[in-house]
């Protein structure tokens, strides 16, 4: 990893074109606006020009979630989190604050950990979305999930999906992270039960498991 100061200046993390939590928060307003204004991203061009798009008026959106395509009618104001949980039944993604502060809703968008609560469903069109369920290999747990079981990296388990997705995102960018990188990577995922020591151990174990597979 490069210098931490670089991240804070730009809001970008060294790993490709990723975001730190702070940078992500600062840029999300822009992202949301851009998505509403960019009708080219919406499948239903008939739905109209940017000026006519209202928050409540449903539009058709095509989402690629866990390698499956879903065509859905959504209101442009609906968050990806709400659509995943209440419409697609993918409740592995949890809701903790709906403000990008707790990380319970972390999913991967094009391999990068993102808060599904701060991502509009329309904004996610054309992106590759991976949720906790998408890490499963059939009935088998993925390596990060397996490591979380072995190291008891959970208590109530509610923040756990977000922690797992943050670790998965980290390992996709940095297959052999240092403990400091792990702690940084999950620092946007609050765990009120306080299982952090086990989470850090699980992330290291997951890196080993992934290397072996």
């Amino acid at each position: 990893m490069k210098k931490k100061e670089d991240d804070e200046k730009t809001g970008q993390c060294q790993c490709e074109h990723g975001y730190t939590r702070r940078g992500f928060l600062a840029s999300v307003g822009v992202g949301a606006m851009a998505a509403i204004a960019t009708t080219s991203k919406l499948s239903s061009a008939k739905e109209a020009s940017p000026a006519e798009l209202s928050a409540e008026k449903a539009v058709v959106v095509t989402l690629l979630v866990n390698d499956r395509t879903h065509r859905l009618l959504v209101e442009p104001r609906w968050s990806l989190l709400y659509v995943l949980r209440e419409h697609l039944g993918l409740t592995g993604t949890k809701v903790g604050c709906e403000r990008g502060e707790c990380g319970a809703c972390t999913v991967l968008i094009d391999d990068l950990p993102r808060n599904a609560c701060l991502t509009l469903a329309v904004e996610a069109e054309g992106r590759r979305i991976t949720t906790l369920e998408g890490l499963m290999q059939g009935e088998e747990l993925g390596p990060v999930q397996q490591a979380f079981v072995e190291e008891d990296a959970m208590q109530c388990g509610y923040c756990t999906p977000g922690q797992i997705m943050s670790v998965e995102g980290l390992l996709r960018a940095r297959p052999q992270p240092t403990p400091a990188e792990i702690r940084q990577a999950v620092s946007g995922n609050l765990c009120r039960c306080g299982t952090y020591p086990h989470i850090v151990k699980a992330a290291a174990r997951a890196a080993d498991l992934k290397a072996k597979r």
Partner: protein, 777 residues
Amino acid sequence: MKDDERDLYFVEGIAVPQTPLPGEEPAAWGKTTVIGQRQPRVDAYERVSGTAVYPSDVVLPNMLYGALLRCPHAHARVKKVDISAAERMEGVHAILTGASLAGKVKWPYSEEVVTDLFDAQCRFEGEAVAAVAATTPYVARDALRAIAVEYEVLPFVADERESLAPGAAQIHAGGNRFKAETYERGDVNKGFAEADVVLEEKYRTACEIQSPMELHGCVANWEGDSLTIWESTQGVYAVQAKTADILGLPLSKVRVIGHYMGGGFGAKLQPGKYTICAALLARKIGRPVKIFLSREEAMLAAGNRPPANMTIKAGVKKDGTLTALQFSGLGSGGAYPAGGTSLLDWLVRDLYVCPNVQSELTDVAINAGPARPFRAPGHPQCAWALEQMMDALAEAIGMDPVDLRLKNVPLVSQGREGSPPYTTTGLSACITEGAEAFGWREARRRTAAARKEKNHLKRGVGMGSCVWFVGGGRPPSTVIVKLFADGSVNLNMGASDIGTGTKTVMSMVLAEELGVRPETIQIEHADTGSTQYATPSGGSKTVPTESPAVRSAAIAVKQQLLKMAAGELGSPLENLRYTGEYIEATDSGKKVKITDLASLKKQGVVVGIGYRGPNPEGKVVNPFAAQFCEVEVNTRTGEVRILRFLGAHESGRVMDRLTFDNQVFGGITMGIGLGMTEKRILDANSTGKMVNRNLHDYKLPTALDVPEEMVSLPVDMPDSEANNTGAKGLGEPVTIPTAAAIANAIYDAVGVRVRQSPADPLTMNRLLAEQSPEERS
């Protein structure tokens, strides 16, 4: 499961305890083979795969989404609620207001104080004013915004220290004083006269919010006159009882389900107004309704740890004998009686040997959300004061803090009438073994030597110890264990697993007793419709309450199997040995595989019922702990970094070493929150409103705030007098001494006493700036 294991659920070759004769208490376990091992959670797969359905995950066909309109003022009277615009909105299906309920639905804030569900008098910001149900949560929130409420804004008081001042806003007709308690033993004045050193100091801990990651809420659905509620709760039977009572329903018609839940820490022991609103809305519309609070609502209205203002005066002789402790505490559980000073003086009364103790507690009203129990009510606050005072006394008489505590370890519970003895106490062992493993004495020498160095990074070590008021568990609890013809086992238990590993520990108890593998056990739990009665999972009581009942049920199963085998092997009961997979006759040498027992095959299942027996009479069952930490204080920035932590905990028998350690780390992490990062801030001067009502401004500890080095040192002391598994509770003691230990370490590092929590950089900078030049090094 591998093919060759399919018919074999038993672990081969393990010693299984003998079944006692009927009516006899089972003997304590000797050497255990499953209990005490590192067993991963039996429901871990569900939790990491996304297949565990938490109440907030429940989506029912035709379901609507509810939301509560909340008072934006600290204190106000609702004059008029206009729902005409909201009612006309597309997608809005029902609206409930104070007027529409016509005072028919009551909400008991306490036994004495009962208000309307939507009461005209809103005594805190976030009080419920109306509820809506709509097609989506977005429309529901639109509807809330469309409801026009006319408020008469009233004077407020938001600081408990101002609550009893002349001219303070009156929250209740009877005044702002809820409760005043006093306690006295011996004669403190005599004690202070005998002391060589007397110190007096004021301390304060800020109000904390429980903040479980899963928000408070439920899904309610009616089938005819039967109500089913999926609630994120620590106790399904407690939710059932209060909901049935408020709605005037028979208990049998209210089913509460809470298989998984995302944390509670005391804030989910009871239903909320949202539960009642969801049920009322669902009944009105005839469709299921889901209500989950927002984080902001939870922070305002779903519980907190009351702020505590404490004065402590202590006398000690030069040899470390405590002669007197005098304590006064002022707290507030918010706008309604909610235990604002609950157990606030307990450590002063009970933790150390002291013949002369006096305390007084005053619980007052402020215009803020009602408190709910928060992990070890009163204790971490009292530890903040008492444990810092112990260190100050130790310094004053030139004694090591560890030695001063060891000098005053009690064997009886002095705080209780008649000073009954503890069944066991590991307090000395926790302090001694903890100090040894931490390298306490060497560390103290090192930090003392380093203090003279010119360096802006100062290191210090600190410790704290504790007892937890309860933690022994108690009746009632009933569980049912079924052993099927193929040898697999089902446990039916009403208790919730709130993340502490209850299900895993119970599986281990069954495995230990019946010789089956933990992962072959299926557990049904936390459902008033289909599982047995249990009290809520709180008070560190679930393992010591449920595990003895589970063991008894397993023994009941074994006794029936032995009876079957006696007939089939033709040997008397006393000559039979249960070995897990087989039952052997010691006289004839014959043995029968349990799954081959003809009676079992015919009967299909053997059912064992276990009841939780009483606790030993005249004795007290409490867990104990001592924690140690090392910190580094940056005297230029005021930042405190915790370098390492060690928790030495005696909670009777260690049941699952893996979940035990996890709990210890979790409790320490939460204690770091109290000590370093967390405080509810109310705008006491101009609005009374909470200003940090989100997880950005209200700081929970993150992975970067906990030390890399955390050590859990179990002091394994099976308590055979307490119950038949020898277990005591762990969930609460783990967070009691943490913040105090940090404060003591900060003092050791820089000579600054942090009297008010949290020790955040702002506070530290102020305290460091106040230091005189000679104190600074």
